[in-house]
């Protein structure tokens, strides 16, 4: 795979994962419960992991 294609794919995957995490936080808010809160915290952890993975390349 070409380097540019790989980079574009990586950016697309990261964007999708970030959007999915934010959507998960928004949708899991409505039913009240510990399970939903854990899902929201997992989505928050996902966003932080994404930030860390983006940063690792440039650390």
């Amino acid at each position: 795979m070409k380097e540019s294609t790989r980079t574009a794919l990586l950016v697309a995957v990261r964007t999708l994962v970030a959007a999915a995490c934010v959507t998960l936080v928004v949708t899991a808010r409505t039913p009240v419960g510990w399970g939903n809160l854990l899902v929201m915290l997992a989505a928050l952890a996902g966003l932080l992991a994404l930030l860390a993975s983006y940063n690792r390349r440039l650390r």
Binding site: V22, V25, V26, V32, W34, L37, M40, L44, A52
Partner: protein, 329 residues
């Protein structure tokens, strides 16, 4: 007039002197140096003492008190305080309203941070890189909300969201979009996002100006060189601007997460009071209600401990996730 001058120290002289009495000479020189060092340390400690005392009295003692009080049941007024161990924390597990407040806090934290940081970066990049006409005016207009008191902002948004005469519903009526009209602060589904919009509006300008100042310090030659290499503005932003302002971004992100928790409390308190039916309650407003309205001070402090642990953990994780060597340019 006669002057007496010491002969210039020759290498041989110096060597012979130090060879002759190395321990006696160094101990004689060392003693005053040690004494001076000790005096310096004492002076620094004396200078630091007022600040340390204030920090201990106003930060450490109250924080420890929050932890201590979370183990008691106390109304906040009566002299009766009963030690209950971890009972307050056990009650938190069964408290639906606490879970809802926690969920709202996490939702606000994620949505407001992502939107504010994203828009702040985007607007700062446009204002800095594109030669917009009247950009100083835009900057001024966007910065104004940060100067206003949060309570004033709450009043402005309460007027904007007003069901009958509000700007939002009025505009929708004018555009014949009556179906989109809402009771913005009375509908359980949208009330939290109405507060989130006020939070974004309040903090966007401040972060935009911060990013603009960092972006303005990036040398123009770097952009010229990358343009010659065929980099598009988007590529320049991600490959050049973002890495070069990373330290600023990192600091503001950590700072924003902590301040968002506080800001949400003030806005919720002033705009909705946690309603309708607790659907816009956040952790700090729930803690305030329990401690000062519901006369359950110990329970409120248990919520305070959870807020402290959560904010501390998230800030620590953000700081770790964004740590990198600062770039020199």
């Amino acid at each position: 007039m006669t002057t007496s001058a010491a002969p210039p120290p020759s290498p041989t002289n110096g060597a012979s002197k130090s060879d002759a009495a190395p321990s006696a000479g160094s101990s004689r020189r060392g003693a005053p140096a040690r004494a001076r060092r000790r005096a310096d340390t004492r002076f620094v400690l004396v200078c630091l003492l007022p600040a340390l005392a204030l920090f201990a009295v106003f930060m450490i003692v109250p924080t420890m008190n929050v932890f201590r009080m979370s183990l008691y049941t106390w109304s906040g007024f009566s002299p009766d305080m009963r030690f209950v161990g971890l009972d307050n924390f056990r009650h938190l597990l069964d408290d639906k309203q606490f879970v809802r407040a926690f969920q709202n806090t996490v939702a606000l934290l994620v949505v407001v941070t992502v939107v504010t940081m994203g828009m702040g970066l985007f607007l700062a990049a446009i204002m800095t890189r594109q030669r917009l006409r009247g950009r100083n005016l835009y900057r001024f207009v966007l910065y104004i909300p940060n100067v206003l008191s949060v309570v004033v902002i709450a009043a402005i948004f309460s007027a904007v969201y007003d069901q009958e005469n509000g700007l939002l519903n009025g505009t929708l009526r004018l555009l014949s979009l009556d179906g989109l009209q809402q009771v913005w602060l009375g509908n359980q589904k949208v009330v939290l996002y109405s507060v989130a919009i006020a939070m974004v509006w309040q903090s966007l300008g401040y972060y935009m100006v911060l990013y603009m100042s960092s972006m303005a310090s990036i040398p123009e030659e770097l952009y010229e060189a990358s343009a010659l290499d065929g980099a598009s503005p988007a590529r320049q932003f991600f490959a050049l601007t973002l890495p070069l302002i990373w330290e600023n971004l990192r600091t503001t992100l950590t700072f924003f997460i902590m301040s968002a928790v506080n800001l949400s409390f003030v806005l919720v308190r002033a705009m909705t009071g946690g309603g309708p039916d607790g659907s816009s309650e956040v952790l700090l407003s729930y803690m305030y209600k329990q401690a000062y309205t519901n006369s359950s001070y110990g329970y409120g402090m248990a919520i305070g401990v959870v807020i402290f642990a959560f904010s501390f953990l998230v800030s620590l994780l953000v700081s770790r996730a964004t740590r990198r060597e600062p770039l020199q340019f």
